[in-house]
């Protein structure tokens, strides 16, 4: 089995403000399995539940977010571990050592009034005792050096660093303990293209060296194309397609995936990019049946009534669309 198995996960935001009760079904039945030593990309438009999914994967579930069903099972080589049923102390033990995160908005994840090395020390100290300050500083310098960061960074405050630097520092912070799983949520979003490329390169190198699994979330298909081994496409709280990166990019089956791919700029392609018509659905009141049906150009009657199941159609290629399941169903 893989390093992470998610079974029929459902996580809703439940709020009650001045009597307005709302349930936002941010994750509504996701099942996925991620293998060791791969870069797993998750793609989708904004507010499709990607970030929520990451939060649940990292075990950071706080009200109003509530997990209403399903399991998130990790396997770090000593049996499976449901991160959702762990006690706080147990969770603290596996955090950073086994699972670490690179959050969306990395610009503001560093405490603005704390020098970088102190933040590092806080994170390290939480998991192991620091015997000698000198040793610790040397280790950190080495670690940063490997990631191509100058040693002065340690003594700096976050506001001294550029966006790219901050992102590298965050990556450095997330990889101190060589964790098995790194969950990276939009790690490149706020960066310009050149810096973006550097950061991605860095992630790749780390993965190659540390042999860990990276779960990479971004709306940017170009990033996925660049780095991911496998890609899952999320739409409105569900996974609609999952396959190897090459399959998704060249042989996508779901109409939504096709739209995403079409919006990807190609070098030398001067044709006008078409954006997907319509807006993403309101998850507080999602459409019936296939959630993509209001925007789908190939919509059928059944799409409005029933939820298409995620079925395997090829070599670890899964898709949830009646267009496909009908075909393959017919085929059977």
């Amino acid at each position: 089995m893989g390093i992470l198995k998610v079974e029929n996960l459902k996580a809703y935001y439940m709020t009650d403000v001045y009597g307005t009760k709302r349930t936002v079904r941010a994750i509504d039945g996701i099942s996925v399995e991620i293998k060791e030593n791969e870069i797993f990309g998750i793609a989708g438009e904004s507010s499709c539940g990607k970030t929520t999914f990451m939060k649940v994967l990292s075990g950071a579930v706080k009200p109003p977010l509530t997990v209403v069903g399903g399991k998130v099972l990790y396997n770090f080589g000593n049996g499976s571990l449901d991160i959702l049923s762990l006690q706080k102390d147990e969770l603290r033990k596996i955090r950073w050592k086994s699972i670490s995160c690179i959050l969306q908005g990395s610009m503001s994840v560093l405490n603005p009034v704390r020098k970088i090395y102190k933040t590092f020390r806080d994170f390290v100290e939480a998991h192991q005792k620091i015997e000698k300050k000198g040793d610790f500083m040397r280790q950190m310098r080495d670690h940063l050096g490997k990631l191509g960061l100058p040693r002065e960074v340690l003594k700096a405050y976050p506001h001294h660093l550029s966006g790219g630097m901050k992102q590298r520092v965050t990556i450095a912070l997330a990889t101190i303990f060589k964790p098995s799983v790194i969950i990276a949520d939009e790690p490149t979003t706020a960066l310009d293209v050149i810096v973006q490329r550097g950061v991605l390169q860095l992630l790749k190198e780390i993965q190659k060296e540390q042999k860990n699994t990276i779960i990479l979330v971004t709306h940017d298909m170009a990033v996925h194309a660049n780095i991911a081994d496998r890609i899952a496409i999320m739409y409105a709280g569900r996974i609609v397609e999952e396959a190897k990166a090459g399959d998704i990019l060249e042989n996508s089956l779901h109409p939504y995936t096709q739209h995403l791919i079409d919006s990807l700029p190609m070098i030398g392609d001067k044709s006008h990019r078409v954006s997907i018509p319509g807006v993403p659905p309101n998850l507080a009141n999602p459409p019936s049946g296939c959630r993509f049906h209001p925007r789908c150009s190939s919509v059928m009657g059944i799409c409005r009534e029933e939820v298409p199941p995620l079925i395997e159609v090829g070599d670890r290629h899964k898709v949830a669309c009646f267009l496909v399941s009908k075909e393959s169903g017919d085929g059977k």
Binding site: T15, V17, Y18, G19, T20, R22, A284
Partner: protein
């Protein structure tokens, strides 16, 4: 408006408490119109009677029924607070909108002046004012002066609200469509600024009524007009506490504390209600 109140009333305990208290106090103060006694008269009833069925809050050493006296006192204090708050709102809206909209050097100058007014200790100035004006100092003049000194904090809040509004889509649209800045300010911004104006108004009332108590206790207010402060002043004049007429002090302190807490909770509750993040959740964005 009604639905907002209903909504808040049903779902915010603080608001419910504040609403009941304030409505109660408003009803209480409007009882003054039915008072059997003139607010200025004394020795209408036996003096120094402790609270009883006949005299809810007891009677004072001046032979006044404290219950009825308090109805006038609360009414005047409320009117004083409201008039100060309304008058100072005019200045804060004017300064806040201008500074926020104009920006640049004008904004910087206005805000420097504004900040000066925030930090200048006002009590010594008010004492000086009262001292100079002596008997000419009526409650209204006092509220006018306090309005002139107490607008700055809220002007700053309004300005920051305008600044955030300016970044929004509709302002740009309005600018591109050639609207003049004043109409933009009035038509587009004011409606969004109004909730914050209302919330700060309550806070300003708290401030001005509190200061009035301080001034009156020092005898620096219009002692002939019954207010919360002058009631305490007269009780002190008659050594109510030492003489054991504690109810004379207790009544204004209890009612005003209730009123102050009510107003403050109202302010806190409204403040949360108009907070953009709460608003987002409320409207289901």
């Amino acid at each position: 408006m009604i639905s907002t109140i209903k909504n808040l009333y049903e779902h915010d305990r603080r608001f419910r408490f504040a609403f009941i208290v304030i409505i109660g106090i408003i009803i209480f103060s409007s009882l003054s119109f039915f008072s059997p006694y003139d607010p200025d008269s004394s020795y209408d009833v036996p003096s120094d009677q402790s609270p009883s069925i006949k005299y809810f809050f007891g009677t004072s050493s001046r032979g006044q029924d404290i219950f009825w006296k308090m109805t006038f006192a609360i009414r005047n204090s409320l009117l004083f607070g409201i008039s100060t708050a309304l008058l100072s709102r005019i200045i804060s809206i004017l300064v806040g909108l201008t500074a926020g909209y104009k920006g640049g050097i004008g904004d910087r100058i206005l805000m420097s002046i504004n900040d000066s007014f925030i930090v200048i200790p006002i009590l010594p100035l008010l004492i000086l004012f009262n001292f100079i004006f002596q008997e000419k100092m009526s409650l209204f003049l006092l509220s006018l002066i306090m309005a002139c000194l107490g607008w700055a904090w809220d002007a700053r809040l309004i300005r920051s609200q305008v600044l955030s509004l300016k970044e929004r889509e509709f302002t740009r649209t309005a600018v591109y469509s050639g609207m003049k800045s004043l109409p933009i300010t009035l038509k587009e911004h004011l409606p969004f600024v109004m909730p914050i104006v209302f919330a700060t108004m309550i806070n300003n009332m708290l401030w001005s009524m509190g200061l009035e108590v301080s001034l009156a206790v020092l005898g620096l207010s219009d002692i002939n007009t019954p207010t919360i402060g002058t009631t305490i002043y007269w009780a002190n004049q008659h050594q109510a506490l030492v003489a054991g007429v504690w109810w004379w002090i207790a009544a204004p302190i209890a009612i005003s504390t209730l009123l102050f807490i009510g107003l403050y909770l109202l302010f806190a509750s409204l403040n949360q209600y108009i907070d953009p993040r709460t608003r987002l959740l409320r409207m289901g964005g």
